[in-house]
Structure formats: C-alpha cells, structure tokens
Subunit: 423 residues, 4 copies
C-alpha cells in the first residue's frame, strides 16, 4: 500500500522524503507515527505550530465550536468567530502596541497574503517595481515567487517573474559593507537603474534563507529609504511572527512600524490555514471583492487564533518565557560553536548552526531523524541546521533536544573526518 | 461593537455588505444568525459546501480525528489522514472512472492549484503562453489572475498579467459561430499572432462568468486543438467539480480526459481549505519541493474529504440524486423563463436566470435576503441570478426556495415596471 | 572572395539567398549586377524605393547638398535641410489634406517609429495594453516585435513580448464575420478579458501578412471602437504609405484620421534611412529627449524627402498616375486569376496573387529571378506573390514585367502538375 | 517661419533647445549656421562624427558612388559596397587584431544593434535575464531601454522593461568596493535572487552615464564571471568604439574578447545611419531573416565606412595621433582640476570634468554656446561637462577649444560664487 501511495502523490512532495514515517498523531512538541514512535519536533510545521501540536486550549475551543455547529466556511461574511478573533486581535495585540491596522483576510496561505500586500502597494503607489532581498522567501505563486530569491523555486518560471528589483540583505557583503547604503545610493541616483519602488518587502529573520537577522540600524535605514522614496514598507511576518522572536511581531524591537504586515503560518495557532494582512488604514483603497478567494474566512482558524491570543497574549508571561528559552538556546549554540568551525545563526526560537558544509548538514538531519529528532536545514546551500521548536516546548525538552542534536553534529562531523572519501 | 469591527476589516470585504447579518451557526442548507434567524443558502460558500453545512457524517469523522490528536498540519509528511484520503480518492473516484492521475497538494486554495497547474504546464512544454477564455475566473494571485478575464479583479495589476492569450469561450459570439474554430485558425496560422501554448485552461461551466456551459462538441474540439499543438488541457474543476454537475468531475460527460485537473472549494467537503491538482503521471516532472507551501497538507480537510468520498461516492445513488434535483431545477427555471424575457443558464445544480438587467438582479438579491434566502449574482454585469444550493439539499427545500425566488423576481420586476423612474 | 564574404556575414541574411548576385548599381526600376545583368525590380526595397532607384531629381538634390557640405548628421538640431523638409511636408502633404500633426523623428527605422508611437500612446493613456492584429508586421525590436504576429520573428523572444492583445484583422474569419464586432464585443464586456487599450495599431494593407486590405467599413468601426474606449488609433503607414496606394497616406480614402501615424521606408524617397511619427498636437506630451537616438536627424534623407515631396506631391498628376497604374495592374491580375485557382490580393501598387501553395510560389520566385525579375513572397506561408514596383515604373515596364511573371506562374504550375512527385 | 517649425516638431526635440541656431553646413570640427556663424564642435554628433564633418576623403568616395548610381538601399542583398566594406573591415580591423567575428547588419541604429545582440544571446542560451549596469545607456526601443538605467528615459515604460538585472558598474560604490565581487557573490549564491544570465552587457566608458571608465581588473573579472556562468559578454562599443579611445575597439587594451560587440554612431564615419553587430562565429544561430529590417543595408554608409577604414586604419599613425591628443587633453583637464573642486573623467577623446553641480554645468554649456563652442553634459545629474571632439581635430583646435572651455568654467564658477542667490 505504501508504495502505491508514494506513487500516487506527485514528485513535488519533499518533507516525506526526509522523514519517511507515516505520522498519525501529535501532541505538544511531539509527532507520533502509526507504529507509536515519538519524534521531538524542532520544525513545528515550519513555524506554523508555535503553540505546539493539538494544543489543548485551542483544541478545546475548536471542539466547542464544532459541537455548536459554528460556521466553518463563511467567505467574508461576518461571523461570530471572525468578530471574536478581530476583537481579540485588536484588544490583545494591536492596542497594547499602539498599532493601528485594518485587517484583510486573503486566501489562507502566506503566498496569498504576500500577493495581496504587493498588489495593494502597487495600487496605492501606481508603481510596479517592488524591492525584495537576497535569500528572501515569500511564496510560490507567481507574484510572490517573483520576490523569492531561491533559484530552485524560481526555476522555469523565471521569464515571468517581473516587477522586482533584488537588493542585498543585511550582512550580505560581510560586516563592513552596509547594504542599505547601496540601495539608497541606487535609488537616489536617477541613473541607478532601479525604478521608483511601490514597496520594499523583507523578513526580519530570513527563515528559509539561512536565519539571517536584520540589524536594528539596517532596518531603520531601510524604513527611512522607503519613506523618502514614497515606497511602502512590507514586513513579511509569516515565519518570524506570532511570538517566534519573543514578541508578537518580529518587528517590535526595531522601532519600525511597517505600512503592511503579512502573517500566516502560526496565525491560527493550531496549524489551520489562515493568513492575515495588516494595513495602515489610509492605505485601504481596496474596492469590495477586488482581491478575493473562497477560503478567506476559515472560521475554525478564527476560533483557534482567538483562543491562542486570549490565552497567550493577554499578559507578558508568555513573551518572557519565549525570550528566556531563546537565551537558553542562544547560550547552548554559542558555547557549542565557540571552539568549532561553525557559526550560530538566528535569534529568538528561530536559531541554528551554520555548519558550512551541506553534506555534513544533510547527514546530521538524517541521523537526527534516526534518533527521533526532527530538524530541517535552511540557507542557500542547505548548510544551516535550523532549530524551530514550538514556543511552548518545555525547557527540559528544549535543552535535551538541543544537546542531543549538538552531540549528533559532533558524531557526524567526526565520522566525516575519519572517512573523507565518503563525501 | 459592530461598527468598530466593520471598520477594522479592510474595504476589500464584499459578501458581508450584501448579507450584513452576523452568522453564528449553520446546518445543512441553512445559515443561522446570532439572533437565531434562519437563511436558506443557495450560495453554498460559492460551491464549497456541496454536502451542506456541518454535514454530520463529515463532522463526526473530524471530531473523532481531533479526539485522537490526529496531525493537524503535516506539511507534506505522510500521515494517516492523507493516506486514507488518497486511498479513498483512488479507489472511489479515479479507478471507477478509469482515470490515472498523480495527486499534488498545493497551498489549499483554488488559486494555488491553478498556479501549480500552469507552472507545471510551462515547465513540461518549455513554453510560456497559456490560453484562457473570456469570462473565465481562475483566482487572484498573479499567475491565476492573468488567466482571469474580469477587469474588476485585474484592475491595477494589468501590466503584470503576462503570458496569456485570451480566446473566446463557447457561445461567446452567439450560436452561429464556433469559437473553437477561431482558436484553431489562429494557432494553425504561423502569423496568427498566438504563441505556441503551454496549456489551454477552462471551466466546463463558468461559475463567475455567468453560468456559461461548454458544449460537448466545442470542448472536444478544444481538446483536439490542445493535442495538435502540443498544449496541455487543464480543466479547472474548482467550482463545477465535486459532484456539482451530477458527476464527480465536471468533464465526465464530455468524453475528454484533461491532462491536468484543478480542484478546491468542495474538495474537503466541509468547507475546510483544501486544493488538489491531478496530473497525468508522465507530466509529473516536478522536483521535490519545487512548488511548495506550508499548508499543503491540511489534515482536517483530508479527514472530511475522505469521509465525504467514502459516504457519497461509493455508489451511484448520490450522483442520481443530484441529477434528479438538477432536472427538477431545470424544469422550474425553464418553465419560468418560458414566457418571460429571461434566459435560464447553467446545468446541474449550478443554474440560474439571466434577467438581462443588473439593476433588477441586484434588487432581487436584496429582496431575497430580506426574505431569508441567500442567492448570489454572476455574469460580466452581475445580471445572472445564480442558484447553487448544497447538493444535499432536500427536494422540498429546493422546490420551495426556488419558487420563492421566482416569485421574488416577478415581484421586483413588476415593481420596476411600475416605477421606472427609480432606476 | 565571395565565399569568404558569405561566411563573414551572419546567417541572419536572407534576401541575398534568394537573389544571390552581387549588385553594383541601380537606376529607376532596375538593379544591375557587377556583371552588368539588369533585373526588373518588383520589390523596391520592400516599398522603400517608391520613386525608383537613384531617382535623378532626388539624386541631384543630394549631390548639391553634399557639394555645399550640408550637415549630414544633426542629432535633432535645427538644420536647413530639416526645416525645408518640414516646410514641404506641411505645405504639400498636411495642409492640402487638412491634417494637423506634430512631427517626431525617431531613430530612422520603421521599428523605431513604431516603438515611439506605442510608447507615447502608453504615456498619454496611462495604459499598457496595445491591440495589434493577426498577420500584422511592425518590426523586430522588442516593443515592435510584440505587435508583430509572425511566429518566425517572434521566435525565442516570445516570453518577453508582453503588453499586446491580438485581435483579428478584417476578413480573417472569411467574408461573413465582421471581426471588428468581435473586438467591440470583448472590449464592451467587463469580463471580455482584454484590458483597456492604450492604442489600436494596424496597417491599411498588410504587406508582409499577405496583402490583406482593410475595408472602409471595418476600419471606420475600428476607429470608432478606439474612440469609445479611449484608445489611440495608430496607422502604420510604413509599407503602404508614401503614395503606394495612390494617395500620399494609405488611410486617405477611408475617412479616418489616425491619432498617430508611423512612416519610414519611402519617407526619404531615395532609400535612405528615415522615419517619421506624426502625432495629433494634443498628444505631444513628450519631455525633451525622453525618446531619443543618435540618427534621428539624417539630413541626407531630409534633402531627398523634401525633393520628392516638392516634385511629386505638389500637384495631383502623380497620384493620378499611380492610380492608373494600379488599375492596370488590378485588371491584369484579376483577368489572370479569373479562370485559375488563384486569388488576386492587395490594392494600389501593392498587389499580388495568392497561389495557395508555398512550394509553387517559391518556384515562381526562383524562376522569375532566373529571368531577371525580382519578386518577393508574402503571407503567413509565403504563398502570395507580391508585386511592388516603384511607383515611377513605366507603364510599359509594368505591363511587360507583370505579363512575364504571369507566364512564369503558368509555366511553373504546369510543370508542377506534370511532376507532382517532386513536391 | 521659425516659430511655425518649432511648433511643428514634437516636444521630444532636445539638442535644438540648447543650441537653437539653424545649422546649414559643417566641415571638419565646425558647424556653420545659416548666418555663417562657426561653432567648434566638441560633441561630434554624440560620437558619430569621429572623422569630422563632411570628411573630404569619405565625401569623395560617396560622391563617386552616387555618380555611378551605386545601390543606395539593398536590404541585405550582396552589393559591391557591402562587399568592399566587409573586406576592408576584415582585413584592416579584424585580422590585425586576431579577432574572428561574423557581421550582422541590423536596422542602422545603436538601439537596433543592441536589440539584435540581446535577442541572440537569449536565443543562444535559452535564458531571459540580461545583466546591465548602473548608469548604462543602450538605447530607447523597448528591449534596449530595459538595459538603460536612466529613469528619465525609462519613464512610463518601466512596467514593460523586464528581463534585466541591474548590477553595479565599476567604482559605483567608491574605490574600496569591487562591484564585480558583488555580482559574483549573487550569481554564485543559488538564493542570490539573480536568474542565470543570458548575457552581461556593458560600455567600457559610460558616455551618457558620466564618463565612467571600467578598470582593467574589473572588466576581466566581469568577463570571467560571464564565462563561469555561461553568459555571453556583450560590449556596447556604440559611443566608445571606432577609435574614440585610441584603439579601433574600446576593449582592445583590456585583454578581453567580447562574445558580441555592438557598433553604430561612427561606424559609417560620415554620420550616416549604420550599425553593426559582431558575433563569435559559433554563436551565429540566427535563422535567415529572423531579425530583419528594411534599412539594414545602407550602402552609402558602407561606402564611407570602407573609405574611413582604408584611410585611417591601414596603419598605426591614426591610433597614435588619437592617443597623443588624448594625453594632451588629459593633461589639460588634470592640471585644471588639480586645485579646483572638480574631477577629470573619462579617457581617450572622451573626457570631461565633473563639476559636481548641475546648475554650474548647465551655465557652462550655455555660455560655451554663446562663445560658439558646442559641449554637452552627461552623468546622472548632467553634472559632467563632456568633451568629445572629432578624432581628426587639429591639435591647435583641441588646445584652444579646451582652454576656452576651462576659462568659461572658471568664469561661470566665479559668477556663481558672487551671486549665490541666483541659484
């Protein structure tokens, strides 16, 4: 049977090649196979399960909603669930942060949120060009893919990926060159060859791109450049948002307020498809239904999202907890890399180790899986081992899992040294 | 509160403007407001709720799955739920119809399915041009939007919507001109100015475009043209599929086998976001993860989808039932239009009345809502009143609701004649 | 030597493959080879030599100008020669026809004129889409090539050829279908899938496309559609203008005044590179130098152009003469085709015979060349034999050359019937 | 009359606004107005008149050709004049430099040459992306304009200017950053976001962009990058070629052999429209007539081009002379800038002074014209005063004209200091 099914799903499948077991259940930080094997999950659905698998608080809210025959799909009708979500989001997230945004619910994927954001930016400014960055990842539908730097994904679509200028992310040329200055230089120069931008879009931490973190100074410069040149600043929070960096929004510690924010992944908190675009009110020039889609009101997701916000974001405790775990992880990784040829990457609970060697990284991933630890790679060459556990992971699990991983890296690296010919 | 929330959601919202109540629950063919008002639903989430709201069979499966802490989000991991869905789909849908397709699960929206389909067609053929039709609707992300004919949605994105040749849908020039011949003429002519197509994409019934139905002869000609010119035939089943026309696939009665099929809306059966691309096995040239996305494994949707297939598509009874209701509806609408200046449109349980007057249609929609009947409009000028009830609607509900609607049309039309100045 | 030179010029060369002699001189309607062979020229530099080769009146003006060291290249400086041309053009061409146009001199090729015209149309309207027609030919630079229908020329550039909707030229679907109605239908329909056009560009006679002639009614409808939809009407006069149809402008007998006119080929009258864009004054929103180019002031061309206008267009005699020759040619071709399976095409001194068979046409061209008559083919399959002699050809030459050609066609057709296997 | 004519020519005219006289004749380094005023020409038709106005050697060859009724327009027929040009070019230019190129004659403008070059590069490689540089200028037709950095020219066409990645020219970020390394970094990085390039196109000296000169090391690095990434290196010689830098080709002193070379401007030597694309023989994958155009065989230009090559490029004398004048000019400008806040720019006889102030530069240009000296500005802000005299200028004229110009700069700068409020 298994072979039949493998055969029946398209070759496009990927994660199941690395983690070939069939999984049947999941709780908290663990995935469980049909055979009952437990795997510690340091991938968290690529950041979609910040509150863990089947979080009981969220699950309970969903069960209650289902029991009452709550609306499941509501297009963009007003529903009790949407209202409750919007109220919770306004009250617990926006108001305490003195943020004022309109909410748009596009099709419930990150790519759709990005498509909506750049479409709106182009409409507002009457310009076409959008500035995106090296190693940026924003999705695979055509508009989002044009922003995405990865050549593997761009593939044969390249001739159609227009309307984007590629700028250099913070640190791309090493610590001595400020890439924001390069962008400003080109935009200030009428012969710089970069058309006036509708928007500048970026991730605060590049999750797929290798856990590159924007520095405060750089981001503020980029924000200033956007303002000077009449471009909107779009922060793509899809992977780094929803608490992943120890604040609800990834941009909170930067003293920068984006014009548009795109959210998805952990927006629902339960792994249910949901996306959200936040727009400064004066930018809300949409006509009714101008950008539409059937699933833009996934009410199950509204229910779990509201429950997550109410439970985790009412007070500061959760933020503090995430930041404490982040420091703990940082210390572990920094110590580890200290006397090894590796480099710690990332921030918050979105950290990793650049082992500078894709083959080594790939072996670590395989060995970790053998040892029932799920970790993914990132970076342009898949040379960075990424740790992205649920934010709700127990400290003991985090420490044990990380130590286990570090030990695996050592083992694999040692083995590689012993048998270089195998590389 | 209500005003605050209105204000907080983007101006892009649309349905909630026509049906302004706040809905809290839904069962079968009815939506229920917070105040307990019951509305008969002839919209069905734009065709996403073919088995009705909170269908108890599907709901029961989902509750069971939730209780067992089944995987919610699985990226593209193998899961018990996905396996079960794929097995059911192969066994109940593909095999009985002698169809052989690989399954791809893109981001769970129709637009994502369309993006995947045309990306693959371009990769397979090495060509860029895709042929799409007048009044076609395929989604709002950039690649899908390029295929969509509606100028309201294309809007300010128009300069970016490249790689598409617009051909004329069946009947677009009236009954005497075969528009397939025009397409063939241009493609056969080396100076016809239409680049060799990667694909021809179409809907069997144009749901948004006005319930235009492709004739058997026309579709077969189009399929032949695709073959002759090395283009893939993509049938967009998103609105017309999943039983809506009385067969599982909308193309079944046409003796045409598409190279690629896109599904979404009622794929999960429960209104949960899910999409599916079916590809002939030899076209499956995807590289692992080449087209990806976080929510491409919405396991809740797999669970309800499998339950729906097992329950409704195991035997012929359901198909027969839908076709019986379709004929019933056809008779009602045909009789009604017979001595009125209106035209029945569509087929299956995707029918409507072209009242030839957008103002009249708009008034009917408002009055129907006043009378607790939810109907939507379609067609280029919103001049067609669309009836798209759940397939599971009781015959008595269908008859009563339809008669009520026809009576409303008469009333509104009469009122319009009495007070023409008000138009 | 000859082989060396063949080898040295790129494979892109084409005419010299059909007419392989080396030509050294030319006078009136004849080309002369290095060996002294005389060839009657029914090609006229693709319509660039309307006044014949080395027309003595024009040559005399050029020699005088050279003797006085007149400016050769003047960028867009005011020069005596440019002033004289503009004055002559205004006085002899525009004023008598009650036309009011500004003149723009882009780079001196037809493609450059077309690029300038559509760039301006897009600037004026703020729209991107340009409507061009089946079998239209407007040049090979990227903007012009997007308008050109020929797949051979579009070739590998196809993915880059954006911003154009291809409409159907007059008669494309046979005599019973008015293709202007189809365009109107699509543009009037908000879901017709054709974005609001910046311009509609067309040739009155499609020279490369097979000598297809726009009918008066069709062109007037197209002009009306342009007006209704806020699009500019651009008439590409490059091949059919400068007297070729018996009036200075090809559009004169149509009661249509284009918003923009593109001219090249015979604009200089002597075969010197020159192009010209005429724009209605209110459309002249160019910024200084916004569209530029080094050779936009080819003063030698101004000198011969002015001489040609002064000599040939001061009175009606020349127009009458061309129309007389046109009727003469029409009678010859019509009579000839009357009892043969061929079809006369074109109008003015831009006529030909559709022999319905590319192989036959190719053989006729070869045999004609053997008999020292230069004729070219056109049409999507090169199935139309094109007669485009200098307008100044002697009637006796025209009659003799045409009869010779018709006799060749008969001979070749007979031979083909005798030896069908050779095809 | 003058006003009428001004009015009749489009607002796009530009040079005639700066130099408003009407010019009637020109000889050597001087332009002559209708009133007999003599202007020293330091513009040379933007580098199209390297051998001076109405060079008697070239003029004599043209007069002789005209007298013999030589072919004027020959499409791409073999003609005596073309053969002679090709022979001279092969013998005097290519062979002595050990270069092996096929020659393509596109439409006779630089833009057409560039269009042909990138179209071929895309065809050869099957890729779309072309890398062009900040401050590069390659023409105004759509394909060439996409490569051009200048926002003034890109203007409203920007949304259509696709298929180009903008890289940073040598020195763009100051002397400490090697911009070739940045390009290599991005191309080596699979997530660098720059699609595999079909070609890298550049000018050795950026004439419009401000007389920026590529360094030897940088250009060699760029050439190596092109090779490593399978891209063709296209050197745009249109302004800097034909002896302007003291060698026939601008790239000769760089030990780099471009895959494709584009030439125009001074190709004919006499100011007649002519362009030329040189391609390495193995790249010549053109189909016959695939890229065509009427004026691609301007035989008058072939005649003067051959005469220029035979006379000036048979021996080293001319090259030596140009280099001597270049050094002379360099010394004058360097000395002058030494104790002033200005910077000498450029090389060869394509030098200038960056006065760092567009207002000052504009005033110098006006004052120079008052004093009968024609100089143009360049650079992104028109802040560089460009000296581009005919290569045949007398040393005495060069010295006197340059000193006059330097004195004007001083005068204007002094006046500006005295009356700052006037700025």
């Amino acid at each position: 049977m298994d072979q039949v099914l493998n055969c029946a799903e398209s070759e496009v499948r990927s994660y199941c090649r690395s983690y070939p077991a069939t999984f049947s259940a999941a709780r908290g930080s663990h995935l469980v196979t049909e055979e009952g094997g437990q795997y510690l999950d340091f991938l968290s659905g690529c950041g979609s399960l910040n509150y863990g698998h089947n979080n009981p608080i969220l699950k309970s809210a969903l069960l209650k909603y289902l029991a009452a025959d709550g609306i499941t799909l509501g297009l963009d009708l007003k529903t009790t669930a949407k209202n409750a979500f919007m109220e919770a989001f306004a009250k617990r997230v926006l108001v305490p942060r003195s943020l004022s945004y309109r909410m748009q619910f596009p099709g419930p994927t990150g790519a759709n949120a990005v498509e909506a954001a750049i479409k709106l930016a182009r409409k507002v400014t009457g310009r076409t060009n959008v500035i995106a960055f090296t190693n940026g990842f924003h999705g695979c539908s055509l508009g989002a893919l044009a922003l995405t730097a990865n050549s593997y994904n761009r593939g044969s679509s390249a001739p159609l990926l227009t309307g984007v200028h590629r700028a250099l992310y913070d640190g791309y040329l090493g610590p001595d060159i400020d890439t924001a200055d390069i962008l400003r230089r080109q935009l200030d120069d009428p012969s710089g060859g970069v058309d006036k931008p509708a928007a500048i879009i970026l991730e605060i931490v590049q999750g797929e791109g290798g856990l590159n973190v924007a520095s405060r100074g750089w981001l503020q410069k980029i924000a200033a450049i956007a303002t000077e040149h009449g471009a909107l600043l779009i922060v793509d929070e899809i992977q780094a948002g929803c608490g992943r960096l120890g604040r609800f929004f990834s941009f909170e510690d930067y003293d920068v307020v984006p014009d548009i924010v795109t959210m998805a992944k952990s927006a629902s908190g339960f792994g249910l498809p949901m996306s959200l675009v936040l727009l400064k009110p004066h930018l809300d020039v949409w006509q009714p239904g101008e950008h539409n889609g059937t699933f833009r009101g996934n009410n199950h997701a509204f229910v779990t999202a509201a429950a997550a916000i109410e439970h985790y974001w009412g007070e500061d405790a959760f933020e503090s907890e995430v930041r404490r775990k982040s420091r703990l992880l940082l210390d572990l990784l920094t110590d580890y890399c200290d006397n090894r040829p590796f480099q710690p990457k990332g921030t918050g609970l979105m950290q990793g180790i650049d082992v500078k060697d894709p083959v080594l990284a790939a072996r670590v991933k395989v060995e970790a899986y053998q040892q029932r630890l799920i970790v993914e790679l990132c970076g342009p060459f898949d040379e960075v081992i990424k740790l992205m556990p649920p934010l709700t992971i127990l400290e003991s699990e985090l420490i044990a899992g990380t130590k286990q991983l570090l030990s695996i890296i050592d083992d694999v690296a040692d083995a590689a040294i012993c048998s270089p010919q195998s590389r």
